[in-house]
Amino acid sequence: MVLKPRLEDIKIIGYYLGKIILGLGLTMLIPIIIGLAFGEINPALDFLIGIEIALIFGLILIKLCFTEKDLNWMQGMIVVSLSWLAAMLLGAIPLYLSGHWKSYLDACFDAMSGFATTGLVLVQDLDHLSYTHNLWRHLIMFIGGQGIVIVALSFFVRGASGALKMYVGEARDEKILPNVIHTSRFIWLVSIVYLILGTLALGAVGVLNGMKPINAFFHGACVFMAAFDTGGFAPQSQNILYYHSLAFEIITIIIMILGAINFKMHYHLWTGNRREIFKNIETKTLFITVVVTFCITAFGLTQIGSYPKAIVLFRKGFYQLISGHTGTGFMTVYARQFINEWNELALVGVICAMGFGGAVCSTTGAIKMLRIGIIFKALKQDLKRIIMPERAIVVQKFHHIKEIFVEDRLARSALLITLAYLVLYGLGAIIGMLFGYPFINSLFESTSAAANVGLSCGITDASMPAALKLTYIFQMWAGRLEFMSVFTLVGFFVAAIKGKR
């Protein structure tokens, strides 16, 4: 029997949602400071409006729903899924006010794309966008990549046990340190250290490449945030092609791979346990899938002779592939070139890479390496069972920080999430085809949205149907949260309508 949610449930959800909205609103102070520093008054006003609306909503929710009770699992999951929707709606306000988005829906699309670290864009005339708005586009990737709730956990929540429920709801089922708040702070520490190093490296390359120092370091910070958080936005409309630089591309590849690695792995690397990287199932699986998908893509590109030199194949073929595999979405080709100059085999390689994704507890989306590894191990275990004598006891293990046995429960969970992703990729592709786009184009764009990648073959455009924009927003949201929070929210609404008191 389904029970109708009580008023108390709604109050607890509203209270924590209000707190997270307050935290989100306060992050708008950063672009305001940048706006004032660069003398961009109107963009700073856009963010003042945004922050005020966020604070008003946050305070009203806290006031109306004030409670001292802690969250349970269901409430924690709902808070997370609603927080992401609230972030999209509030984060889109300053974007829309800039006049660079044709509609509020378009601004919401880019805001969700940013928070979910996807990288698909509907912005108009990006090359004339202010520093203030450009910083915000990349900052929301940084916030979304670490996790919106992690921002609140790190700075606004003190020791609440409900923190764990929100942390898990945000698709982070692994704790690095025993305390979830310490884990959140460690994730921030890693990100900030890499932010400083990455910005310096990219900025220096920019200066050497002939950019003005102020632009070089601003671009460096923005591109770092988009690369480490596997987002894919860039400050210019040509994305990474703007820089025309091999050094820039190599540095972004390194940052993208760092972003696709489990934060737990970063912890072990930082504490001197470098052997973990060679033993871990995720790094092994990542290496194998990158090699296999690149072979498919390279074979496809060689078939049609698109890129005849090895360095060209690396900078065009491998770059798009690793960008897709890590879920980043940086591009050094134009969207239409995928369709016009790449054959279907090469596109299938990239689609598979996008669908696989990076490590769990990283900033990537998609199925993820741990699940692929577990499924492969489970398959191996079943094959051994068939081949070996009936009396033989077949045991399969894998190494992920520690030795873990492949149990049916683990395999089932990995398969269920994988299946959910495959359904999401397919669903978006079917909807794309309903709007008249060819199969391969639809599948490419749908996988890119649902796996939070951001590579585009040209479908994503301000002129695409509103229903398709909403489909991709849903895919980005559900894909980023790995379904559980979204399913819980749907269940909550069903219970509110059909449940009994």
């Binding site: 109107n42 008003i56 490449n209 210019q236 409309s237 040509q238 820089y243 050094t332 134009y334 070139q337």
Partner: protein
Amino acid sequence: MNNDLVSRFTLHTPRFIFERAACSLQRVAQHLFLFTFFLLPLICYAQSISSTELINNAKQHDGKTVTYEGEVIGDVMVRGNYAWINVNDSQNAIGIWTDKNLAKNILYAGSYKSKGDWIEITGVFQRACLEHGGDLDIHAQAIRKVRQGREIIERLNIGKRNLVFVLLGALCLVWILKQLKRK
């Protein structure tokens, strides 16, 4: 009078009409020849091609001399004796590889605070330039400034300013109500 009659009669003979028509056709053919082989290439050469056309039909234009025009955006990135400039024709931006002396006249590059110079580039289009890691680019042979850019002076948006004050008032009200409730 007789002569007149004769000439009028001769003028309307089928042979005369045929000869006249043939003469006219010859003249048209001469004009067509001139237009096709001399004027048409000149017109086509001067007419710039859009970035969308270049990207969508890259194989068709690969290795050919094209004329492309648009606004210089971002930075003029000098690399040794050459420079990269990115030129946006309001549809897409394309990278232009040019001798740095050709880029000397560029004063404004498009950004939030400036409208970039509008330039016309004549150069060789490369679908996947082997010299530049497969970039889709144009190697400039000539650059002509069509319009000079300018700085954009930002005026305070009064509507936005007023909205900030109204929302600030509402925020203060909510804050006070929250504090009162606590007390």
